[in-house]
């Protein structure tokens, strides 16, 4: 494979708080290759947003501490000055956020906000920037873009605002688009439209996408490769096929088991993972998932590393042997099927 477009190497982010140090991201490494979509899945507080915000150096909290490297096209973003990172934000790496209702400045016209970004990175005339804004709005499916370019954000619906955000994020033809839960705040039909739009843009412009989500359905639909995060670490990483058909980590089994599936008999109740994620201030020794894991054994008090344990590019961080995993997996994901057997 060619060298990755964006590579995160052993990224650690911690926040100093009154109660102690919170390790939000604890040694994350992953790569994004040209044109692919990487899905990052995890529940709230697992560190997925903090990871990508750190890549963009968008965390302004003075109590945050960073370690590790983020290599984008051969440059370590963590070492850049504010002015240098600015030339990458918006131009090389675009970003869209969770809540389109609050992500646009309410006092400026949407066209102006797109033009502002274009003119920040490229020396073009106002008129040229404006024409581009209209083109972009048309491309993301805003009807009457020539008139709507002069509308204010509050005159758009949530889905339309997210389209504007996407138009803005891709306005300078970035190589990487980071989408931080882009559909979480939208209703399901709009969600499907926005995802289809991101797919289309990826095809048309060849942009690589990092899709952060807590929705397994979204990554199943969108991602080429998936990384599952838990308590600040990646605990499993592989292709979409690997993750859905051959999941290795008990946490991933839990996630998959909790999905209501239409192609299987209806369970009496959806399986849930018992317990709560650990506090990031007092992580347990060893595997962070250990306390909630039904298959815990002695070795789990030792921190499992994210390794290739099956001889493919499929990585996971669980001490169980591949054979044990295979045996235990079906029982965890579909317990009702097992129970119903005579």
């Amino acid at each position: 494979m060619a060298s990755p477009l964006l590579e995160i190497r052993d990224l650690k982010v911690s926040f100093r708080t009154e109660d102690g140090i919170v390790r939000a991201v604890d040694g994350v490494s992953c790569s994004l290759y040209e044109g692919e979509t990487l899905g990052i899945v995890g529940e709230s507080g697992s560190g997925k947003s903090v990871t990508m915000m750190s890549v963009m150096r968008l965390i302004t909290d003075p109590n945050a501490q960073f370690e590790g490297e983020v290599i984008y096209k051969g440059t370590n973003l963590m070492n850049l000055s504010q002015d240098q990172i600015r030339s990458i934000r918006g131009a090389g790496i675009g970003m869209i956020f969770q809540d389109p209702m609050t992500s646009l400045n309410p006092v400026y016209k949407v066209g102006w906000q797109i033009e502002e970004q274009i003119r920040e990175h490229e020396h073009v005339s106002r008129q040229a920037a404006r024409d581009r804004a209209v083109e972009l709005l048309t491309a993301v499916g805003i009807p009457n873009a020539r008139e709507r370019v002069d509308a204010y954000p509050h005159q758009f619906s949530g889905g339309m605002r997210q389209r504007v955000m996407i138009a803005m994020a891709v306005s300078c033809n970035p190589d990487v688009l980071i989408a931080d839960e882009p559909t979480t705040a939208l209703d399901v039909t709009i969600q499907a439209q926005i995802l289809a739009l991101i797919k289309k843009l990826r095809q048309d412009f060849g942009t690589a996408v990092v899709l952060i989500t807590h929705d397994m359905g979204v990554v199943a639909d969108m991602a080429d490769r998936i990384a599952v995060m838990y308590a600040g670490r990646i605990i499993e990483q592989g292709t979409q096929r690997d993750l859905f058909y051959d999941p290795q980590h008990p946490y991933t089994w839990g996630l998959l088991g909790s999905i209501a599936r239409l192609d299987r008999p209806r369970p009496r109740r959806l399986a849930a993972i018992p317990g709560l994620p650990p506090s990031l201030m007092r992580l347990p020794v060893g595997c962070a998932f250990g306390e909630r894991c039904a298959h815990r054994f002695e070795r789990c008090s030792e921190l499992p590393l994210l390794l290739d344990r099956s001889g493919t590019s499929h990585l996971d961080a669980c001490h169980l042997s591949p054979q044990q995993k295979k045996d235990l997996r079906d029982r965890t994901i579909h317990p009702e099927l097992v129970e119903e057997r005579p």
């Binding site: 963009m56 968008l58 302004t60 003075p62 504010q82 002015d83 600015r86 030339s87 990458i88 934000r89 918006g90 131009a91 675009g94 970003m95 956020f97 809540d99 609050t102 992500s103 646009l104 400045n105 309410p106 006092v107 502002e116 970004q117 920040e120 990175h121 204010y152 509050h154 005159q155 955000m165 803005m168 994020a169």
Partner: protein, 322 residues
């Protein structure tokens, strides 16, 4: 827009009517207030008192007196003061207004600039020692009473240091701009500073809190993600949005000050503006002047309110009628 203006005008009329009626009633119901007795001098005979009453129309029913007074203010414009029979009240206010306007405009300019500088500095320097220092200075400014600050400044500039550092300073009072721009400016420097101190402190604190709140908004993160410079994020996004609060506060304070609210500053510095006039009319219990000043003040406050609403729609597109 037309309905807005009509509605506002009607509203102004209602406000003025209610205020003048209130002032009128309070005046006549206050025990010990008798303009006739004040004019007649010591130990007047009952005949003299009755004569003065008849002359001033004080023996007629209250509502007639009220009507006559309003007519004399708005139509014939020849209402005369009780305490000084030679002065026409309406003209007096028009003569006093330039002094007040000069004072308030200058002070407003200083306080806007200084409040923005201090508020932005404190917000940017948050987490360092300068932020609390600036905010304590602002709090002192809010707490220091104008009459005290003014007197201390007068003591220094007109007293102890007048013979050397402040030799250029003219004596207390107001010189109109048309008479001498230099004297106008010199005479107003310290009144401007005195009047603006309170507002600098207050506005700096409000702005700082507002900036810190807006800094956490999602659209500020978006602005950074677009690759804008910190300076541009601050000026075009954070500060621009915080102006929504700033402008609405400013309009009301400014209107109240132009309407005679700078009374303490005007008295301390001997500036014969509308505030000074208010002060004099209150000490003399001079009803015609009080009523006229109140109408003038109410007019400016309502006008300021209307301007704030227009300005508000101008800076915040969300409240514009569509």
């Amino acid at each position: 827009m037309l309905t807005f203006i009509v509605r506002r005008t009607l509203w102004t009329a209602v406000v003025m009517f209610v205020i003048t009626v209130l002032v009128f009633i309070i005046f006549f119901k206050t025990p010990g207030v008798d303009p006739a007795r004040a004019i007649a001098g010591r130990n007047p005979s009952p005949q003299v008192l009755a004569e003065i009453r008849a002359q001033l129309g004080l023996n007629r029913p209250l509502y007639v007196q009220y009507g006559v007074m309003m007519k004399k203010i708005f139509i014939t414009r020849d209402l005369v003061s009780y305490s000084n029979q030679g002065t026409k009240v309406v003209q007096e206010i028009f003569a006093a207004a330039p002094a007040t306007l000069s004072l308030v405009f200058g002070a407003a300019l200083i306080w806007i600039v200084m409040a923005i500088v201090m508020g932005v500095a404190a917000a940017r320097l948050r987490g360092r020692i300068y932020d609390p220092i600036l905010m304590v200075i602002a709090l002192i400014g809010v707490s220091a009473p104008v009459f005290w600050v003014g007197q201390v400044i007068n003591l220094i500039t007109q007293g102890s240091l007048h013979s050397n550092v402040f030799r250029w300073l003219p004596p207390l009072g107001y010189t109109s701009f048309t008479t001498s721009p230099v004297l106008w400016f010199e005479g107003l420097i310290f009144p401007w500073i005195t009047l603006s101190i309170l507002y600098i402190g207050f506005y700096a604190r409000v702005l700082r809190a507002n900036l810190l709140e807006i800094q956490n908004e999602d659209y500020i993160r978006t602005a950074r993600a677009k690759g804008l410079s910190e300076r541009r994020v601050l000026v075009r996004h954070t500060l621009r949005t915080s102006m929504i609060t700033f402008v609405s506060l400013f309009g009301l304070d400014f209107g109240a000050l132009v309407g005679g609210g700078a009374i303490l500053t005007e008295v301390v510095f001997g500036i014969h503006g509308v505030g000074f006039l208010t002060y004099e009319s209150l000490t003399n219990l001079d009803l015609p002047t009080i009523i006229a000043v109140v109408i003038y003040g109410a007019f400016f406050i309502v006008l300021a309110n209307a301007l704030v609403d227009i300005g508000y729609a101008w800076i915040d597109p969300r409240v514009r009628p569509t």
